[in-house]
């Protein structure tokens, strides 16, 4: 189903809610605003409930007969396991501060995309089955029965949330819609209601180690291909190692970095940087993916997929680990991995062999973000950088939601960008750092069939980019997330044509003056440096 959306088509809406109450308004299921169902063989491979062929646009979702019991039982179990869920269902005062903070609401005007109402979809059922007032007073107390329509509505709106946590920052109680959505999706998965864009990558990842199902020989080929490209560009031979025992560092990246555009240019940047400083590191074909679509399905699947990271570090007997540019991978690594898959006491506290900096902030998890590593190099002037090589780019920076609000990695990437570029311009402050807007396609909903929802969700980010495009001539949007790199180009093409997307380490790779390099005239994309050869002189 190819969905074509014309320019200007998506702005015919306002923020006025419909007259009918939200409980009486079923989810619209308009093509272009939802993703397709998890394919049977992948659901089966992962051993998840209720594998079958079905689609959300069909009337019959082929739910198990006792689906209601399963969901209510699943809620009971999760209320007992997660204080966050119980508390967030209890204490919302519906002040509405979160309403116009969600990119999906801002881009669609659909009131159920207001975070408060998204949570009410779950809360109303919670009240009906778990609170006295809900049992006694029903609708008047904001409670409603769990019906198939409600379940479909959950599906529609919990897969129209990217778990970006922007609303949580504005909530006076920190109610985190990511928690609500994660629990909602876990419940849906109990009866086999899921989307293929999450289930298939997760199943591939479980089997081969990465989302696309790249097998070890292809993994090696792709990395060697990148090394060849770098040799053409710089004249320098790089021989990255894979599955090498005894390396100091295991470097985990999102697998998109080795095959997708524009990710691959960031990958060149990594390879050049790590070669230049002589880091003793290895990739792993088994742990060939840092991204974790389990996060978008259930806590259990997240843990299952993530186990390989520490396991492989142990097998290869490395000292510490480093992670590449990826958003949700870092939510998992920073906030879940140590708890789920740790302790990592067989590893050592990361220490930069170049600067001697000890990364105490990772002293327990033993894994650092490459932006932390590179920012330290830049700060200690260990790199020979020529930012003028990026002069063709007028750069802005999109804080990826998870590193921003699930970690606080704000200044490290900026330090790298400032050292690598002369022309760096920030977007309006309401749209960056902890207040950053999601790309609109995060949390596993970056599918083609969902393109209208994605473009709508991308509107606030695009509006901010357009602002700096118009005022500062920005033509390059940098970011540190593989999903951003995969999906922002489409968002830019639709809303702000002429703006490209790149990773932070692509910019660094452009600026990096390597020892013994041949005279370089082109950046990693093969485009001439601004002013051609003159700029390099």
């Amino acid at each position: 189903m190819a969905i074509k959306i014309q320019p200007g088509e998506l702005v015919q809406y306002d923020y006025r809610p419909p007259r009918r109450g939200w409980m009486d308004e079923p989810a619209p299921f308009r093509p272009g605003t939802y993703s397709h169902a998890g394919v049977k063989k992948h659901v089966e491979y992962l051993g998840l409930p209720n594998p079958r062929e079905w689609q959300p646009y069909e009337q019959d979702w082929k739910l198990p007969e006792n689906w209601k019991e399963i969901i209510v039982g699943g809620m009971r179990e999760r209320l007992g396991r997660f204080r966050s869920l119980k508390l967030f269902l209890d204490i919302c005062v519906r002040c509405g501060a979160c309403a116009d903070k969600c990119h999906f609401f801002l881009g669609s005007g659909d009131p159920k995309n207001m975070p408060v109402l998204r949570a009410e979809l779950l809360r109303s059922v919670y009240r009906r089955y778990f609170t006295l007032s809900g049992k006694l007073f029903g609708k008047l107390a904001g409670a409603r029965d769990l019906t198939e329509d409600v379940l479909k509505e959950w599906f529609y709106y919990f897969y129209q949330c990217t778990e970006c946590r922007r609303c949580s920052i504005y909530c006076p109680y920190g109610i985190d819609t990511a928690e609500i959505t994660m629990m909602g999706r876990e419940l849906l998965n109990l009866v086999g209601v899921n989307i293929n864009w999450i289930i298939e990558p997760a199943s591939n990842c479980f089997r081969t180690g990465n989302h696309l199902g790249i097998q070890p020989h292809t993994f090696r080929d792709n990395i060697e291909f990148a090394a060849d490209e770098i040799k053409d560009l710089t004249g320098i031979t790089i021989e990255p190692s894979i599955n090498r025992k005894g390396a100091e560092v295991l470097f985990i990246i999102p697998s998109a970095d080795i095959f997708a555009e524009p990710h691959i240019f960031t990958f060149y940047g990594y390879l050049m940087l790590l070669h230049e400083i002589g880091l003793d590191y290895t990739f792993s074909a088994y742990a060939s993916e840092g991204g974790n679509f389990g996060l978008f399905q259930s806590h259990e699947l997240m843990k299952r997929l993530n186990a390989k990271l520490y396991a492989e570090a142990g097998r290869l007997r490395v000292k510490w680990m480093m992670g590449g540019e990826c958003g949700h991978m870092w939510r998992v690594i920073h906030q879940y991995m140590n708890t789920m898959n740790g302790p990592a006491d067989f590893l050592e506290v990361p220490v930069s062999p170049v600067t001697g900096t000890r990364f105490d902030n990772a002293r327990s998890a033993k894994i650092i973000h490459i932006c932390e590593f590179t920012a330290d190099l830049v700060h200690n002037t260990k790199l020979n950088l020529d930012p003028s090589r990026n002069d063709a780019y007028r750069v802005t920076y999109h804080d990826s939601c998870n590193p921003a609000r699930g970690m606080g990695l704000l200044e490290e990437p900026r330090a790298v960008i400032r050292a690598s570029c002369n022309k760096f311009f920030e977007m309006p402050e309401e749209t960056i750092r902890e207040r950053t807007f999601c790309c609109g396609s995060g949390s596993g909903i970056g599918t083609d069939e969902n393109i209208e929802a994605r473009l709508r969700g991308g509107l606030p980010r695009a509006a901010a980019v357009r602002h700096v495009r118009e005022t500062r001539g920005v033509n390059m949007l940098s970011c540190i997330c593989a999903i951003d790199k995969a999906t922002l180009p489409a968002v830019m093409d639709y809303w702000v044509p002429g703006v490209q997307v790149c990773g932070v380490h692509e910019l660094l790779g452009n600026a990096l003056v390597m020892k013994h390099e041949i005279p370089r005239t082109a950046n990693l994309r093969g485009e001439p440096f601004a002013g051609g050869e003159a700029a390099d002189a």
Binding site: L140, D176, A464
Partner: protein
């Protein structure tokens, strides 16, 4: 529709209470049983809620970070917006609870075609802050009824609050601010279309109840004066568990007391319980130290993974042919 129903319910509650007070012929019920029952429900309810929340663990350390993390020494951290120490968490929570830090971030998005503009929007923050602090001052002022002698700070507060002597008895500043804030909060809920759309009866009823309490209180002070000695005798009797039903306390006073009791009894069971819950919010009350200190999940259980050995045996041929070293030769 929901606002009307809520308003109707509120009027019904008031009318029923007044009828009971005037014609019920059971002053002991309204003077003693209702307040004790309400206090009991309030205490037990709050404890029950906190225990219930407490019984659910916090399996993962998931603070929503509102600023720069602590990483490299030369990078300034976000301080209390992204705390990395217990003191920082205390700071974050105090700012949240006392000054409504997160609401202070609020801004308003306005769209024109494809463009979005953001404007300052501090009214909600101001309204909420004024309401909560005024409410606290009003409650503290009422301590003068429950204590003998009245503690000096309560007397000071009362004196300071009534400093603007524009009438006799002095109009309390916090009475004015409380009523203004309540009017704003209710007006906003009714006037903003999206807010009206998502509001439940459970959002209007507490507001209307507090408004009714404030109005009856102000009326007693400035219009239908009550015998304060009788009121104080009742209050002291209640706190010393030697309840008396004094002569001279009027229907308006009993209505006020009934509404306060209704609020206290309802507090733990509706959204107003946020006053206790805010302290437990895992997105706010945890330090962002997940990589520095291992957080333990008490219900962690083993899961089925795909081990290296399984992976190697599945791809053994391909691994061998592309030059990987295998564990199993």
């Amino acid at each position: 529709m929901i606002p009307l129903i809520s308003f109707g319910l509120m009027l019904f509650l008031i009318a029923a209470a007044l009828a009971g007070i005037e014609w019920g012929g059971a002053p002991y019920f309204f003077a003693v049983i209702v307040p004790y029952a309400a206090a009991g429900l309030f205490l037990c309810g709050v404890i029950y809620r906190i225990i219930r929340w407490g019984l659910s663990p916090v399996p993962f350390r998931i603070p929503a970070t509102g600023g720069q993390q602590k990483s490299l020494g030369w990078i300034r951290t976000g301080g209390t917006d992204n705390p990395s120490t217990a003191a920082g968490v205390w700071g974050r929570m105090l700012l949240e609870v006392l000054l409504f830090r997160s609401l202070f971030r609020n801004m308003k998005a306005e769209r024109a075609g494809e463009a979005l503009a953001y404007g300052s929007s501090k009214w909600l923050w101001l309204g909420a802050l004024v309401f909560h602090w005024s409410m606290l001052a009003v409650v503290l002022r009422h301590l003068r009824f429950f204590t003998e002698p009245v503690p000096a700070p309560v007397a000071w507060l009362q004196a300071a609050d009534g400093l603007f002597e524009t009438a006799l008895p002095p109009v309390y500043l916090t009475d004015i601010t409380l009523c203004a804030a309540l009017a704003y909060l209710l007006g906003r809920r009714l006037a903003v279309p999206t807010l009206r759309y998502l509001s439940l009866a459970a959002d209007y009823l507490p507001l209307l109840l507090i408004i009714a309490i404030a109005v009856t209180g102000v009326l007693m002070r400035h219009v239908f004066r009550q015998d304060l000695n009788a009121v104080k005798a009742l209050a002291l009797g209640l706190v010393h568990f030697a309840p008396v039903v004094p002569k001279g306390a009027g229907a308006l006073f009993y209505l006020h007391l009934f509404l306060v009791s209704a609020l206290a009894a309802y507090l733990p069971f509706g959204k107003l319980v946020h006053f206790a819950g805010v302290f437990l919010s895992p997105a706010r009350n945890l330090a962002n130290t997940t990589r520095t200190r291992r957080h333990v999940n008490p219900w962690d259980y083993p899961v089925k993974t795909h081990t290296y050995e399984e992976w190697e045996s599945e791809f053994a041929e391909k691994l061998k042919s592309s030059g990987y070293e295998l564990e199993r030769k």
